[in-house]
């Protein structure tokens, strides 16, 4: 990879990272499926919706696997709503209206919540930029130094050390 290509590579990488975040925000929309038939929805259909939800009480346990009674009731409520012909998105909207955004597995990309999707890619891109600059500087410095000079030992700092090095060299030669 040449020096010129590197910024391009980093740009592509940064775009890929930003892109992956954008996907998270749109997950709710992607998951929306057409309303199921009017027959009682199956457990799987209920769980597919519940998977993306959290009840406000059972922290960090997704609704589809939470064993508490309250969560069982929520799942039944989802079943009722689906049976009434609601779409997945309708169900999310209903719960958000009642309990707020926190019932969703990831904050919807609106208002203040945009921060969560924007901040990391910006920070990561910044980190890549800083490192790229650093590497460029170091490389420039590397080109300035002739290849041979690097191999020479560092200049002794004082007389004592110079003598010490001398003695050592003599010792090594077996003088």
């Amino acid at each position: 990879m040449t020096v010129k290509q590197t910024p391009l590579f980093l740009l592509v990488a940064a775009l890929a990272i930003v892109g992956s975040f954008a996907q998270v925000g749109s997950v709710q929309a992607q998951d929306a499926t057409p309303p199921p038939p009017a027959a009682t929805p199956s457990d799987d259909e209920v769980n597919a919706v519940a998977k993306n939800m959290y009840c406000p009480v059972c922290e960090n346990v997704p609704l589809d696997v939470c064993p508490t009674l309250a969560c069982q009731q929520w799942r039944e409520l989802i079943r009722e709503k689906l049976a009434a012909g609601w779409s997945e998105q309708d169900v999310y909207d209903y719960f958000v209206l009642q309990y707020g955004d926190r019932v969703l597995a990831a904050p919807p990309p609106t208002g203040l919540n945009l921060l969560i999707y924007i901040a990391p890619p910006v920070l990561i891109a910044a980190a890549f930029y800083v490192v790229w600059q650093m590497m460029r500087r170091m490389r420039a410095a590397g080109n300035a130094v002739t290849a041979g000079s690097e191999m020479q030992p560092a200049k002794p700092k004082d007389e004592y050390q110079a003598r010490l090095e001398d003695e050592l060299k003599r010792l090594d030669r077996g003088d």
Binding site: N60, A106, G111, L112, N113, I116, L123, G142
Partner: protein
């Protein structure tokens, strides 16, 4: 009596820590080695003292001393003895003591080394270790005292206090509340000690780093001295994380091993800086570069380690308000901020002395690729930190809404949920990029690597992995770009690593005339660090295969079955045979179902998914029935059932393809770390003693 003894030991340890810190600084400043020796002895004394405190707690735990608040809250009469002992880390106060005990053990072990060559580091290593220890002891003695007892007042109420309040009598409840049922699992018994071991052993490289900064010794000596400590720390930390995953898989009953729970993420944070540190430390050793960066990484690792403990211990994750009310939270916070300020101030003080001596000569050199590896880890760290703190931030920012009602609709003060989906999608590409680098970096050379040399080394593994992926396409029904790309990456890294082993072993066997296997063995023995590292890489690849299996190919279904009915998933199906509900001796109510498993219509055997209800704590626990094979795990959960008649029961079944590769890979990973970290003789002293002889001759 025992409680007083334990408490006394804690208080004396704190005093010893404070004395040792003062003595080390005084001795160093006034150039009086006696004081530094005294500080070293103080460090060594903390271990026996904390052993007394820990044994005191364990004695109270196993003797049903329910008058002690901690004993009452984590044990009960029905618990077996081994669980009572492990209850030492079953609750906050006990686990903090356990943490301190391990810290004292490691710091003492580090202090026992031969210091003649590195005498100037000694006082500062002692200071950093003792200050860390003192901080935890202040927390324990001041806020989380495990020896607090119950006292009955004349009015009949019960109060808790360390020492007997006037006019009260000791109150001993008949039984305790028992250990949280989730913690009664072998994985959970070993998981916290491993994690704590990882945490406390990370203090040692940090202490040496700080010592190097203070003394101005800017060479790579501190890194060489702590290399093995860091590797062991990293092994323990990794083991802790893996065991936690296994525990979640076996006990939490949601078919997965990692849920990006804030507590899990908090434990992952120090690992995310320790891993790049292990890599970039090598650059400093080989090329004398990235000295600032290494220092920064070890400082970050220490701070994140304290922060991980803080996040999981202060209650800040469940609510900002709980944090504000607890005393332990602000103290932790103050300590973290103080550590950061002091360490960074030291780093900037020595900044000029830590300039790189080597230079970057190629974008494709190994050091450049290691640097990109570091940035990728930091990127994952950024995602994790942000995901972790975002809910806290949204809750805390509610204040703005309160102050300015017009903004109340934006700053609602409602805590956001950041679930696995955020972390998975955000870190997925970064992990993949790390895998790719893991394949490319070992092929590149230090200093100079060109696209040409790299291409020469890379084409064969690439070709082999492409053939492998073509085989997957032909032989299996795996489709989808993500899955194929992920599998290709795994094959590529495996091919690169195996080729490297093969090439080197063949070269060696030609040169020495030994056979291939002997050469391979000798090769690994000669350069343990390098080949241990490669074995770790292979372990990571196998783990990645398991993770890909469960993340991309997991399927699930759930249904209510009548007795004799079946439920199918893929090639598997289960038949509901029976269900029994009964009480056990250890105060559980168990509902245990019997299901027969079939694969392609052929009967494989029975599974017994169950739900345990713990009367003492009022908690249910879902234990899956699992049938494991190299190919997949068939994982059955009992979700619900009709009480009394038990005619109908609801089951949830998961098919987790390849998941066992995760555990198998973890074993390889651990093996590799052992190879890399196994002690070997340091050849350096010969030269050093010559240097010393020369110095003496001059003097």
């Amino acid at each position: 009596m025992i409680a007083n003894l334990g408490y006394g030991a804690l208080v004396i340890t704190l005093l010893v820590c404070l004395f040792g810190t003062g003595a080390a600084i005084y001795g160093e400043v006034k150039k009086q080695p006696r004081w530094v020796d005294s500080a070293r002895n103080a460090m060594l004394l903390t271990f026996p003292l904390l052993t007394v405190a820990s044994i005191a707690i364990i004695t109270l735990l196993v003797t049903n001393a329910f008058e002690v608040d901690y004993v009452q809250s984590v044990t009960s009469r029905s618990m077996p003895t081994y669980l009572r002992v492990t209850a030492l880390w079953g609750g906050q106060p006990g686990s903090l003591v356990f943490w301190s005990w391990l810290m004292a053990l490691f710091a003492s072990a580090a202090t026992l080394r031969d210091w003649r060559r590195d005498r100037e580091f000694l006082p500062w290593v002692v200071v950093v270790s003792l200050v860390t220890l003192a901080f935890f002891l202040v927390l324990i003695i001041g806020f989380e005292n495990p020896f607090v007892r119950y006292w009955a007042t004349p009015s009949g109420s019960v109060v808790t206090a360390m020492f007997q309040p006037n006019g009260t009598t000791l109150y001993t409840p008949f039984d305790g509340r028992g250990l949280n049922p989730l913690l009664r699992h072998p994985g959970m018994i070993i998981h916290p000690p491993m994690l704590y071991l990882g945490f406390v052993s990370l203090v040692i490289p940090f202490a040496f780093g700080i010592a190097a900064l203070i003394t101005g010794r800017t060479d790579d000596r501190w890194i060489r001295l702590t290399r093995r400590w860091t590797l062991w720390a990293w092994l323990f930390l990794s083991l802790g994380l893996i065991l936690g995953g296994r525990w979640a898989y076996d006990v939490l009953g949601w078919g997965g091993y990692w849920g990006w729970d804030p507590v899990e993420v908090a434990a992952l944070l120090p690992w995310l800086t320790a891993t790049p540190f292990l890599h970039s430390a090598m650059i400093q050793e080989k090329r004398n570069m990235f000295k600032h960066w290494n220092m920064l990484l070890i400082i970050l690792t220490y701070v994140l380690m304290i922060m991980g403990t803080f996040l999981t211990r202060s209650g800040v994750l469940s609510s900002v308000h709980a944090f504000a009310q607890s005393a332990i939270g602000p103290i932790f916070f103050a300590y973290i901020v103080l550590t950061l300020i002091v360490s960074l101030a030291l780093l900037s003080w020595r900044w000029d002395g830590l300039k790189s001596e080597g230079t970057l000569t190629s974008w494709l050199s190994r050091e450049a690729l290691f640097l990109i590896n570091n940035v990728l880890f930091i990127a994952i760290l950024i995602v994790c930190l942000w995901g972790l703190f975002y809910p806290i931030l949204t809750e805390a920012l509610g204040v703005v809404g309160q102050w300015f009602p017009t903004l109340a609709h934006i700053f609602t003060g409602q805590k956001a949920t950041v679930g696995p989906i955020f972390y998975e999608r955000a870190t997925g590409p970064l992990w993949a990029a790390l895998l790719l680098l893991m394949g490319v970096a070992p092929l590149s050379a230090w200093r100079a690597s060109t696209a040409r040399t790299l291409g020469k080394a890379i084409w064969l593994p690439t070709a082999v992995s492409l053939v492998g992926i073509a085989a997957v396409l032909v032989l299996s029904d795996v489709r989808g770009l993500t899955a194929l790309l992920a599998l290709w990456l795994c094959m590529f890294v495996t091919a690169v690593t195996l080729f490297d082993f093969y090439r080197s072993a063949v070269a060696r066997s030609r040169a020495h005339g030994t056979n291939f296997l002997v050469s391979l063995w000798q090769l690994a023995g000669r350069n343990r660090r390098r080949y241990g590292g490669y074995v770790i890489h292979l372990g990571v690849v196998l783990m990645a295969v398991g993770i890909i299996g469960i993340e991309i190919f997991q399927t699930e279904t759930q249904a209510s079955l009548k007795l004799g009915e079946t439920l199918s998933l893929g090639r598997y199906s289960i038949r509901y045979d029976s269900l029994a509900e009964f009480d056990t001796d250890d105060n559980r109510n168990v509902a245990r179902a019997v299901v027969t498993v079939f694969k392609d219509g052929e009967q494989l055997g029975e599974l017994y998914p169950r739900r345990d209800f713990f009367y003492e704590s009022g908690q249910p626990m879902t234990i899956p029935g699992v049938r494991s094979s190299v190919e997949d795990d068939f994982y059955v959960l009992l979700v619900n059932w009709q009480p009394i008649s038990t005619q109908t029961a609801t089951f949830k079944i998961y098919l987790n393809p390849l998941v066992n590769w995760l555990w198998f890979g973890a074993a390889i990973f651990i093996l590799g770390t052992f190879v890399a970290a196994w002690p070997e003789r340091e050849p350096a002293p010969v030269r050093e003693s010559r240097r010393a002889a020369a110095a003496e001759a001059i003097a």
